[in-house]
Symmetry: C2
DNA sequence: TGAAGCTATTTTGCATTCATTTTTTGTCTT
DNA sequence: AAGACAAAAAATGAATGCAAAATAGCTTCA
């Protein structure tokens, strides 16, 4: 009665996120880490569900030692919780946790914008402009999925332009933690919020062209803050609905 | 010839940094993690030195399993490197690494200041003012150690005022990574830089009193940027001197 | 009938053991 | 004598085994 994990074969997820993009692990432990991280980030394990080690071992076809090492790392990353003598649980993010995570993401993007102004090339700005127009197309066609993806590409481009691998890795880490939420938050976006976001993106581009570091920093922070509000609101509704179907763990 | 670790008993370091302040681990693995982290952060193992697991096990009086779990976590935190089949090394920070780390720290403090403006109380500001005057005293008395400590307290107070545990933990993590450098960088500070730093701190307090979020954000970033320059310069000298005494690992 | 207590099973935490890989050491050849 | 090859020693990576803790199941008693 506590399977928590579906019977599917283990899906190796696309090379999207992760710890920062290094997907060339050789050791078994490293491979397991990548697979487990994706498995959790993709949402294959219900939040707060207990996950017996034995089951994960069978699923992944390995012994408990490397699995436990991977679990420790995932716990350090904040994706799961490790209760002493009581196993691992997918970390349940409270509303407050989400607010905090969004704010830190906002701070990181704000920093990325500031640093990007110091080093970004005209070509990179042009590329972001192209993405912006592409996104505008998705907006006009009501293509939420495309909009979401392009939006994410824009933000990743800014982070890349910051020329700071440490920042990039940290950003990817936090992005992984709130990935599910972020996704549904974007889908939940009202059309009116879309329009706002488009205007904000235009302001971002404008500041970027002028290399106005602190101005861009402000705009990006506010932009993410607005996203935060949308996401939190949406999540509050969703969790309210969930309360009837999903009983609490304990 | 590869001891790398002195014969001393394992020192339990003071409860300063760590992962965020949670120092009530019950499990052996958790205890080991805290002790090892401090041990590394305190600089008891030479940079880049190879650290045989067996030796650490004897030193800590445990078997390899929990030790290896702790090593994996420390590697995820960026304190050590794990080379496949070739053991753990204390991560050697290049000059570029340091620049990146300082910039991320600057971004985090900048964010902390921004958030602090939303929630900080008059009492907290008063407390920071007291610290500021205390620091001024250390400055006048040329007490570098006291100055360093009080300075750190001020920055930690700002982070605390941000009311964001996630940010606090992340900040502590990065602080741990560059602790040694930061320390020596402060010691290396020229008196002229001291005067600048004092002025910057006054500007910080001013912006904080007015709850001028984006202004404070800018000032804090610049303040840390200046620290970065001082630290990097100092490190460049120190590393240059080291090159004659410390032969490279390989 | 229901709840409390006790036992059995499962699960976790850590130690130990086994298999590879790396590093060292010794020997041989040129 | 120097370099190269090979065997031994050591270290790492992973699996297995064992003790303690937790959960589940059963019995007993009110």
């Amino acid at each position: 009665m506590k399977s928590a994990i579906p019977e599917t074969g283990v899906p190796i997820t696309p090379p999207t996120i992760g710890n920062g993009g290094d997907r060339q692990e050789a050791s078994l432990h490293g491979e397991i880490l990548l697979r487990l991280r994706d498995y959790v980030v993709e949402g294959n394990i219900p939040e707060g569900a207990r996950v017996p080690e034995r089951q994960l071992c069978e699923m992944l076809g390995i012994s408990r030692t490397p699995l436990r090492e991977a679990l420790k790392v995932l716990a350090a990353e904040g994706l799961i919780e490790l209760l002493p003598n009581r196993g691992a649980r997918v970390r349940q993010l409270s509303q407050r946790d989400l607010e905090e995570l969004f704010d830190v993401m906002a701070g990181l993007e704000s920093l990325a914008g500031r640093l990007a102004c110091e080093a970004i090339t005209d070509e990179e700005i042009a590329a972001i402009e192209r993405l912006h127009y592409e996104m505008y197309g998705h907006y006009l066609h009501r293509d939420m999925h495309g909009y979401f993806q392009t939006n994410q590409q824009i933000h990743e481009s800014i982070v890349a332009a910051a020329r700071n691998e440490t920042l990039k890795t940290t950003y990817a880490n936090f992005a992984g933690r709130i990935r599910r939420v972020r996704y549904s938050a974007n889908f939940a976006r009202k059309r009116q919020r879309w329009a706002e976001a488009m205007r904000e993106h235009e302001a971002i581009l404008d500041a970027l062209r002028r290399r106005a570091a602190s101005e861009l920093s402000d705009i990006l922070f506010q932009h993410l803050r607005n996203k935060r509000s949308a996401a939190i609101d949406h999540l509050a509704e969703a969790q309210g609905a969930d309360l009837e179907t999903t009983p609490q763990g304990d």
